[in-house]
């Protein structure tokens, strides 16, 4: 029996966001946008979904006079990401 893949993570853009956040302490919205190539609107929606699931925290503030949105992965998000990757590896090893 295969473990069920987390539907929150099983989306291209949300997975890319989580992959970026997995390797850093936190990341700026503009940086994530640049790395993923997503539009601001789409990225905002996906970030809200990850935030609502408790996988990331979103902090709004200022850097100098410029508004800044910073995303950070939560321990629950890290756990979910790790479980998701393990599940993927099980799928692939079963397929061999």
């Amino acid at each position: 029996m295969f473990p069920k893949l987390d539907p929150i993570l099983h989306s291209e853009l949300r997975l890319a966001v989580m992959s970026i956040l997995a390797g850093v302490e936190d990341a700026d919205f503009t940086y994530i946008k640049k790395q993923t190539g997503a539009t601001s609107g789409n990225l905002s929606v996906q970030i809200d979904k990850l935030s609502a699931a408790g996988y990331i925290t979103v902090e709004k503030g200022f850097k100098g006079k410029m508004p800044r949105t910073t995303c950070r992965m939560t321990p629950a998000g890290r756990e979910a990401f790790s479980t998701y990757v393990t599940a993927l590896q099980e799928y692939l090893s079963a397929g061999k």
Binding site: H10, E12, L15, G23, E25, K63, L92, G95
Partner: protein, 199 residues
């Protein structure tokens, strides 16, 4: 998305992210390498031309020039680049090197200025190059281990231990500054290697 596509996406995103962040560290290595080369050559030329070792005070200008330039370098293009564990370790290593080197230099200057024994003070003042080149070599070697690059690791050992050996074997005078010129070139080349890790 299939499982294979998902894993490929994760791997590619994480790799691109890591390379982009390390790329910024490469620019800093080049900046400080160029500054080290220029300052060491300036001190060497002035010291040799005038015979005054006091030109070594010029070294204190280097951090004053370098830190604002490094800040400008970050503001220009990579302002939104996040920190990862590699970039944080590299920054910590070189900030520690900077603090230790400046501290050793300041203590040496203070010791030399208050100590009445001229032979002892000359020995302490002269060993400053040896101490700093050893610290430099250690910082570069650890950086090489962090970015997992053998040429950088070897360059660290060669600069640190080789520089120390040259210093003790040969009576160099003003020419001891050329050890730092070599270290500066090595540092800039390390930056080029780190930047190329992006590809």
């Amino acid at each position: 998305m299939t499982a294979r596509e998902s894993l490929a996406l994760i791997t590619e995103t994480m790799n691109n992210n890591r390379k982009d962040i390390i790329f910024r560290s490469g620019k800093h290595f080049i900046l400080w390498g160029v500054l080290l080369t220029l300052f060491s050559l300036a001190v060497f030329i002035l010291w040799r031309a005038t015979g005054h070792a006091q030109w070594n005070f010029l070294w204190f200008v280097m951090p004053a020039v370098g830190f604002p330039l490094a800040h400008l370098l970050d503001r220009k293009k990579d302002a939104d680049l996040p920190e990862n564990v590699f970039s944080r370790i590299l920054s910590s290593i070189w900030l520690s090197f900077c603090i230790f080197s400046v501290s050793v230099a300041v203590f040496t200057v203070l010791y030399v200025s208050v100590n009445p024994n001229p032979i002892g003070t000359i020995a302490v003042g002269a060993s400053l190059t040896a101490q700093i080149v050893l610290l430099f070599g250690m910082a570069l070697t650890i950086s090489g281990f962090v970015v997992k690059n053998w040429p950088v690791i070897v360059a660290g050992f060669v600069t640190g231990i080789g520089g120390l050996a040259i210093y003790y074997i040969v009576d160099l005078g003003a020419a001891q500054m050329l050890i730092f010129t070599f270290a500066g070139v090595v540092l800039a080349l390390t930056g080029v290697i780190i930047k190329n890790l992006r590809r």
